[in-house]
């Protein structure tokens, strides 16, 4: 049996979400912007989904801008939020979907600590260097699982750059935090459906009332002129369904998954000499579903291959367009030594993860590491 431990990349859709989207791929296919009954039916489905999602994340329906996913939401946030000619500020451990747009507008990048937290002194310094239009600091890091203290960071932003919009990339946070309270300090946040049991290709940027947003994608004026383009009706419906299930299950799943994660990590730390937990031993500040290790003396690329042969799917750092494993800018930002980051391994769990997944990983990973160490790779 295969063990899928790459839920932070994506996971299987919830069957209920698949079921919910199917009618909108067939008989209820209409364009929600149309002027006939079937169009109104599609529009109603989008409106219902918008209300449901808004309710789940502590926003008003009008705040929800449906997009094609997390990357589009982040780009729209960095390029479109706020007014004036101030710059963008983010942290060095952000996803490239935030980091690259910030760099492209000549923004400022704030360092993080060894355990992946945004350095608040550096943040206030960066905010004081000149006018700031938007600040983006992620809720949960996609590689290490580190959860940011957004309330504390928001205080720094409000104090040092009161006119800046505070955005958070909450893409990895949905299953592991109560988004409504976790994102309460933020003016805007990004979501992606496939990270919580929904389909790929749909997400949302939630922008609170009164927060200025300039559209990037112009056309038919959908999403209240904030994101033109015919809505992905089936995807939006499925996203709301998956969000509801994830939110309903959250408190139970948090305990279940954290227990699996602990068994996985403790088992590996015991069986793999010198392996370390990348973001430190305090797991309470990290998402329950993400386990990140550094294993000195192995190369993750080779390790992943042996894991794959043992039917364990995991990931190292990020992958580039060609599919090659690239060194992790997140680990670099945390100052993880190269001999450690070369052997980075991310094992991430989700709603479909079971005890068996953990058992198999524990059976396959230690001997694979031992083999590579024997060969000096």
């Amino acid at each position: 049996m295969a063990s899928y431990l790459d839920h932070a990349a994506t996971g299987p859709m919830r069957p209920e979400a698949i079921e919910a989207m199917m009618p909108f791929l067939s008989e209820r296919f209409a364009n929600p912007s149309g002027a006939h009954r079937s169009a109104r039916d599609a529009r109603r489905a989008v409106d219902d989904a918008r209300e449901e999602l808004a309710d789940l994340v502590g926003a008003r329906p009008g705040d929800v801008v449906f997009t094609s996913g997390g990357t589009e939401s982040d780009n729209l946030a960095i390029f479109g939020l706020g007014t004036g000619d101030g710059t963008a500020v983010t942290s060095a451990s952000e996803h490239h979907a935030v980091l690259d747009p910030v760099e492209s507008v000549g923004g400022r990048v704030v360092p993080v600590t060894r355990f992946g937290a945004v350095d608040e002194d550096e943040l206030s310094r960066a905010l004081g260097e000149g006018p700031v239009r938007v600040v983006s600091l992620m809720l949960v890091n996609n590689e290490t699982g580190v959860i940011s203290d957004l309330a504390s960071l928001a205080d720094v932003v409000r104090a040092c750059a009161p006119s800046a919009v505070f955005h958070t990339d909450a893409v990895q946070g949905f299953c592991w935090t109560d988004i409504a309270s976790a994102c309460a300090p933020a003016d805007a946040f990004s979501l992606s459906a496939h990270k919580f049991g929904g389909p790929k290709g749909v997400g949302a940027l939630v922008v609170r009332e009164g927060v200025p947003l300039v559209a990037r994608q112009l056309g038919g004026g959908q999403e209240r002129e904030r994101r033109s383009g015919t809505q992905n009706v089936a995807g939006i419906v499925a996203m709301a369904t998956a969000a509801r299930l994830a939110a309903e299950d959250r408190s139970r799943e948090l305990l279940r998954i954290a227990a699996l994660r602990d068994r996985l990590l403790d088992g590996l730390l015991a069986a793999v000499p010198d392996a370390i937990e990348t973001a430190g031993p305090d797991r309470s500040t990290r998402a329950a579903g993400i386990a990140h290790l550094c294993i000195p003396g192995v190369e993750s690329e080779a390790l992943l291959f042996l894991l794959e042969r043992g039917e364990v799917s995991a990931s190292a750092a990020s992958s580039c367009a060609s599919g090659a494993v690239q060194s992790s800018h997140v680990l670099d930002a945390m100052g993880v030594a190269p001999d450690l980051s070369r052997g980075s391994l991310r094992l991430s769990l989700g709603w479909s993860s079971t005890d068996t997944d953990v058992d198999e990983a524990l059976a396959v990973i230690p001997p694979a590491v031992a083999r590579l160490r024997e060969f000096g790779l």
Binding site: E299, E301, A302, F305, C320, A321, S322, G323, A324, R371
Partner: protein, 355 residues
């Protein structure tokens, strides 16, 4: 056997993978991501990886990408730049084969449990009369690549396969056509893969990394014949003339002194030398080394597709391997490789030393 095939996304390695699969091996295709820099232009661009992946899919074999960019930088690109800064002209393809394809990749293939590594090189592995393995020229002499992989030892050859080495390029393409591979008509790769031709070529690539220095052209008699705008870009022995001598005839670079910003030039005759000193020499094995005691029938090749030049002697000295030509021969730029052949068989090769 479990075979790891290095697939560049070109037609040769595509067909190599196909042949191995058809022979019934357990084949996996691997594309090496070697270069991710700003001037990413050639061998490892995303479109080549796409080609390799799609060919693998057509062949129904698995395909992986290994990121060796850090090694490539350290073992190929940085030495390439450093050599030029010293007026030396390296062959980065040889260093890539030495360090990446037949060192790094083989070590990884070992660790991952593969029996063999295969590539799409036009070269053959043959059994010598004594049963030992020898690297031989590819059947298609015009495409022969034994020169750029001459550093393979007999021990390494035991773990390597060159499935298309016995085929002509035409046969390889015909095979690719017959299989309907998307790489069937893809042109051969040219020149140094990490240098973009649209981006200004070698001059711009090196100019971004080292300071170029203008220099004087000095004739053998000491007279000055003008200047060059970058001594680092002068290749000793190059066929393109540099300046005109007092006798009205073109001059050619005999030596480069980067520190003194000077290029010593001479007439075409002065380019010819009686031999070359080689360092970093790799013998295929001890038998090959012993074979060189008599130079009878030996020839050496000084560029990828250069003609083999008859050799009068191959002598090991403390400074390296000294090669004497049968007749005066145009000097080879320091940093280039010279490979010694017995007929079609590679015996070994080394890097040309500075005079």
């Amino acid at each position: 056997m479990q075979v790891m095939v290095a697939m560049s996304g070109g037609v040769d390695s595509s067909v190599a993978a196909a042949l191995l699969r058809d022979e019934g091996h357990d084949v996996i295709g691997v594309t090496l991501k070697l270069w991710g820099g700003d001037s990413d232009s050639g061998c490892c661009s995303v479109s080549d990886v796409d080609d390799a992946r799609r060919v693998a899919a057509q062949l129904d074999i698995d395909h992986l990408v290994f990121n060796f960019a850090e090694d490539f930088d350290r073992d190929v690109v940085e030495p390439y730049v450093a050599d030029h800064a010293m007026g030396i002209t390296p062959n980065p393809c040889i260093e890539c084969n030495r360090h990446l394809k037949f060192d790094r990749l083989m070590a990884r293939a070992d660790a991952l449990g593969f029996d063999m590594v295969a590539t799409g090189h036009h070269a053959r592995i043959v059994h010598a009369q004594d049963g030992r393995l020898r690297l031989a020229r590819g059947a298609d002499l015009a495409k022969d690549q034994s020169y750029v992989i001459h550093m393979l030892t007999a021990r390494q050859l035991e773990r390597v396969l060159f499935p298309i080495g016995a085929m002509t390029k035409e046969e390889v393409r015909a095979r690719a056509f017959a299989l309907g591979l998307r790489t069937a008509t893809k042109p051969d790769s040219q020149d140094v893969c990490f240098i973009s031709h649209t981006g200004g070529g070698r001059r711009v690539f090196l100019g971004d990394r080292i300071t170029m220095h203008a220099g004087r052209l000095v004739d053998e008699d000491g007279s000055e014949l003008g200047g060059v705008d970058a001594v680092e870009l002068v290749t000793i022995g190059q066929r393109r003339g540099l300046g005109i001598g007092i006798d009205g005839r073109p001059r050619y670079p005999l030596d480069v002194d980067v520190a003194e910003r000077t290029v010593l030039v001479g007439s075409a005759d002065a380019l010819d030398v009686t031999g070359e000193m080689l360092h970093g020499f790799t013998w295929v094995d001890e038998i090959a080394r012993a074979r060189c005691a008599s130079a009878e029938g030996l020839a050496a090749q000084a560029s990828a597709h250069g003609d083999p030049i008859p050799v009068a002697s191959v002598t090991e000295t403390r400074a390296g391997v000294e090669l004497a030509w049968v007749r005066p021969t145009r000097r080879v730029a320091p940093g280039q490789s010279v490979v010694v052949y017995d007929g079609d068989i590679v015996l070994g090769g080394g890097l040309v030393s500075r005079r």
